[in-house]
Amino acid sequence: MDFVNQLQRKFIDYSSSLHREGIVDDQFTQLRKLEDENSPHFVMEVASLFFEDCEKLINNMAIALEQKQGVDFKQIEECIHQLKGSSSSIGAMRVKNACIAFRSFSGAQNREGCLRCLQQLSHEYSLLKNKLQTLFRVSVASRCLYVCLVIFCRENEHAEPFPDVLVFQLEKQIVAAGGSIPRVH
């Protein structure tokens, strides 16, 4: 069916746009590859962990930069380091690059520069979060659709064969888009 194709195409386009725009890099692809039937939602789990962590660290840095009695650049550097580690682990390239830029300012103990960098970092993070969430929704939606169709087909053995074809196509497309096929018993 057309909408299925559309959906899948959307998914593929969207995820390649993420790569193109540099929001995610190869590491993210590696992460996707780690998903399988045993850990079908691995990427989502890692991403949600990352979002939490990132928000926390950004908050800490914002607070640190607000200190009137003197900014603790050491703490900021540690936050940056951790953020750099986790963003590179998840493949969030732009966030990671923002961290690298941030680090030079914090090393120079340049408060203004740090504030700007923090803003930039926040922006990159929000962007990443939105994009990834969208991506996840699409992928989840595809899986739902797939499962529905499968169930539907099974419920209707006497139905026309096209649902099977449909399911098969959908399966192919899900896999092609890097998703994994959920098990349906």
Binding site: V46, S48, N60, G70, G85, S88, I151, A159
Partner: protein, 625 residues
Amino acid sequence: MTVEQIVSEGKDQFPIGMRVLAVDDDPTCLLLLGTLLRRCQYHVTTTSQAKTALKMLRENKNKFDLVISDVHMPDMDGFKLLEHVGLEMDLPVIMLSANGDTKLVMKGITHGACDYLLKPVRIEELQNIWQHVVRRKKKDRCNSGSKDKPHPDSGEAAGIGNVDNNGKLNKKRKDQNEDEDDERDENGHDNEDPSAQKKPRVVWSVELHRKFVAAVNQLGIDKAVPKKILELMNVEKLTRENVASHLQKFRLYLKRISCVANQQANMAAALGTADSAYLRMGSLNGLGNFHTLAGSDQLHNAAFRSFPPSGVLGRLNTPAGLGIRGLPSPGTIQLGHVQNSGNPTNDLSKLQSFVPGNHNTNILQGMPMSLELDRLQHNKSVGHIGELPTTDSTTVFPGSGSLVDARITGFSSNPLLGVTSNSLMLEGSSQQATSHTSVSAIGFQNGNALSDFTSIAPASNQLQDSKADSQGQASPINCNAGQIIRSAPQEWNAPRKDAPYQSHALINSSIPINSAMIQLGQCLDRNNSIFHRTTDLDSVGPLNFVDPLSIKHSEGDNYIMEPSVIEKEGYLMFQPRPHGSHVPDNTGSLKDLASAMMKQVPTNLSVLLQEGDFGCNGYSLRTSI
């Protein structure tokens, strides 16, 4: 589980099932690492706390084959963990970091890491880490077969009971020349196992280590040979090999410290003593002053008069790769002046601390334990460090940029101890904000007693200015202590044996407390903001799906499914299908099926999709550990 069992059952499958302990405070990285390791078919245990990791390792030595640890962790520095594991359990440890600076890598190696990986870690790299386990086992087996010297201890070794009630292959470092003094190659060849492969592992408890250090100090670091140490220690069931390998590690440790202490010594030397020159110096600030001082020859002489033996300094002068940058050259120049005859060079080693295999102590805390015994042998010129109730869970290394601010000055009288600590602490904390303050004025109120101690303030400052990374900055503190320790006993011998105690007590209190203040602050921040996950599933999800479904079904039968959620997203529009696949009587079963189906998707899918936000509390998360 004995080694043979491990080896035999591992033989068929190894490296599959290799037991790895992964430590990383970053939950994202930890999850990723754990998943990658499982993908390599290792048996993985993860933890975000270094202390938990150590506890687990100590509980059962045989539980793990390999440890992977992050470098930057809030509760304990990765390098410190590395040291502990190397000392106590002798397992291969792989360091992991987002920072791949050469000096960090070097530091990892000197601390005994068998590998250093960069984040983001790739699965290809992890697929080969088993080689480190094999390598170690192989060396042990090899060496045990080809032992060239007859050992009177071999009988002992065979008969060694469990010092720790654990049986595991005793992987010790080799020390072939019993009677040779050595500055030998400390790259750590794996040890021979003189007798059976199955030897119980020796655990160097605090007590044991204390005896060890006492023995070493008694003999003199240069003359400390395993055999004699063993005799002195007089511990049953300890073999020469155990002692030898421990000695090797000890020397490594001392060397590491001494390199840093070396640098600090230069500073300290230049900064002088309790002479008037010193007091003048006390008011000087910063690097500029240091250079000024350096230029003053008179000052040098004054400073060096009562300075600790040159032998020590001379030895310290050998550079070692510890990443200390920015140390002014004047420091080294001054050393030339310090040619006081002194005690043998081994004082340094004797005096410096060594971290015993005791968790939850920072390095300095380790000093009291090791050196307290020395006090009993006060005829030796050994640094004394009193046992102090240092704050728990403080570490010297990590985040210790602030530690650089610790000033250490000596005091002779007890009453001042408290004062000094406080003042030092105050100095330390203010240090963070100010570029430099000198505490020397405070420190030298007691006249002659102070002549032996030098303020390290400017030195610290310099290091801070040089922006060494945190590890680099940490080591100066350690060497400050080492410096002080070294200097103290030279001047304060028998008549004043309590004084060094106090002075060192001072050091001990100042550094850890200082670091504790800062470190705790940071730790607390982290702890407060760490999200403690639960694995509670949010069971709202399925219901959300089921309900709309039931509603929809009442409306019409031709909907395959119409979760309102998906509609919302606008990605799918399920139209009622006019095609023939009409399902007249399947309403009920379809609903059941739908709910069954919902179990296939994340249980809180609806939450995800509706709230549009990840990281919500209900997210089910597999946690390991």
